[in-house]
Amino acid sequence: MYTLKTGSFPLLEANPNLIYLDNASTTQKPEPVLQAITQYYQTRNANVHRAVYRLAEASTHAYEGARDRIARFIGAASSKEIVFTRGTTEALNLIAHSLARTVLHPGDIIIVTQMDHHSNIVPFWLAAQELGLHLRFWPITPSGELDLEDLERIWSDRVRVVTLPHVSNVLGTVNPIPTIASFVHDRGALLVLDAAQSVGHGPFHVSELGCDMAAFSGHKMYGPMGIGILWARERILNSLVPYQGGGEMIASVSETYVTFNEPPYRFEAGTPNVEGAVGLAAAMDFLDTLDRERIWAEEQELARYGVEILSSVKDLTLYGKSSSRAALFTFNLKGIHSHDLAQFLDSRSIAVRSGHHCAQPLFQRLGVPSAVRASLGIYNRKEDLDRLADALEEARRYFHE
């Protein structure tokens, strides 16, 4: 039934036995992305925005062209809304830092969720510590979802920001962002979206989602490491103070004053990761060629099949029971520690992650110290899940008999 032609992934081709199921950590890179990076260095490398010679213009053109491509990919109103960062983590730090120093006041409340990654919790925690803000956790339901009634319950008029993941990197839950956005906007707060686990998986349009700011990483969507995006409405970016200082982010500097450049440049201090921007744009071309609607439809099929087959494995506990889910499965086998299980699966050439997945508050809520996570990408097939299920049965015998 699988028809998606994914093109060539050199690492996977070089390791035909490898079943790579750690795509929520990072994805493998397709040939066109690798080519775009090499080609950039071979034909257009120069520093951007800084010189008048033609090569520098070509490099600047590549960088700004990537910005335009990214704006189109996520449905941004203009490329001025696209800020290049190192990844989701840096984008979320930028958001927390800049919001705290401009629109937030001591005593204001920020809501994060129990299913957040540390990179969405800790930046806001740091800002809260420094500026006297308060963090409140939106609890999850027993099925691993977010319920607006719970948000209502913890709401107060001091809530200024709600920040949450689009897709949970542990539970696989896809959160209903448009509904949450209207709830939050009706009460005059801002909605920040950690889109690390969603942008590369299907259609993603900021205007349809209704969030005010979003963050994601190139390397989790078949692009290179070290590049990520902060998207925010232009009006919001205009109101924010810079995150880092340096070259390119200023309008002018004298001994007595500094004025800042306009967004997005205000937030991009220093020489940027041009190869990363170019590689990310190539990853977006690649995904669009495959058709994002179809990628998501096929992932849905894998998500259903994964739940079905993993539920049939004896002694397996699957965390996250939402029916609105990605092909990402976190589980434990009774009596086997996640590290031991992951080690066993590696011996069968199945790469999965084990541990707390940078979501300790969630694991405290689940009441387990760690778990194994299998997360699928566009090159995975139902057969990979079959082999996973078989290896899990084998592991149970290995450790228990």
């Binding site: 541990g355 707390h356 300790q360 110290p369 760690s370």
Partner: protein, 151 residues
């Protein structure tokens, strides 16, 4: 033997399934954590009133490697004096890291017995930390750099 079987030798799985000196701990104890996996171990030393360890007990959850290592450790350290225990700790830590090849101490007071079965971790650099976890915990206590908790 496959690499996996070298890591999970019979003896290791046996200690994991039937840990020695593992029981609920109350009073004052040492906690030691592996931040990368969230595993946490409680260790308690029962002194005989002077310089000798009557018994070491542990509790907590962790992988087969860290649990087996803790179980072996409690056996190796019970009955030892403070300085012998420290010596065994040093010896075990360098053995598990692969800095040291044999696991019998030249002083001969020290025989690291079942620890040998853990030597498979050397082929799995990421798992060395699992094996050394209990030893780092008790080393801190023996050196007086306590991370003590009480219930």
């Amino acid at each position: 033997m496959s690499e996996l079987d070298i890591l999970y030798q019979e003896l290791i799985l046996e200690h994991y399934k039937h840990p020695r000196n593992k029981e609920p701990i109350s009073g004052t104890y040492i906690t030691h954590e592996n931040p990368s996996c969230g595993d946490s171990l409680k260790i308690k030393i029962d002194w005989d009133g002077s310089d000798r360890i009557k018994r070491v007990i542990f509790d907590g959850h962790g992988c087969a490697i860290s649990m087996a290592s803790a179980s072996i450790m409690t056996e190796l350290l019970s009955g030892r004096t403070h300085s012998e225990a420290l010596e065994i700790c040093n010896c075990a830590l360098s053995y598990l890291r692969g800095d040291r090849k044999d696991c019998t101490d030249p002083v001969e007071v020290v025989d690291l017995g079942d620890l040998e079965a853990l030597s498979g971790v050397r082929q799995f650099p990421l798992r060395v930390k699992c094996a050394t976890l209990p030893w780092h915990g008790i080393e801190k206590e023996l050196k007086g750099q306590r991370t003590v908790s009480s219930q």
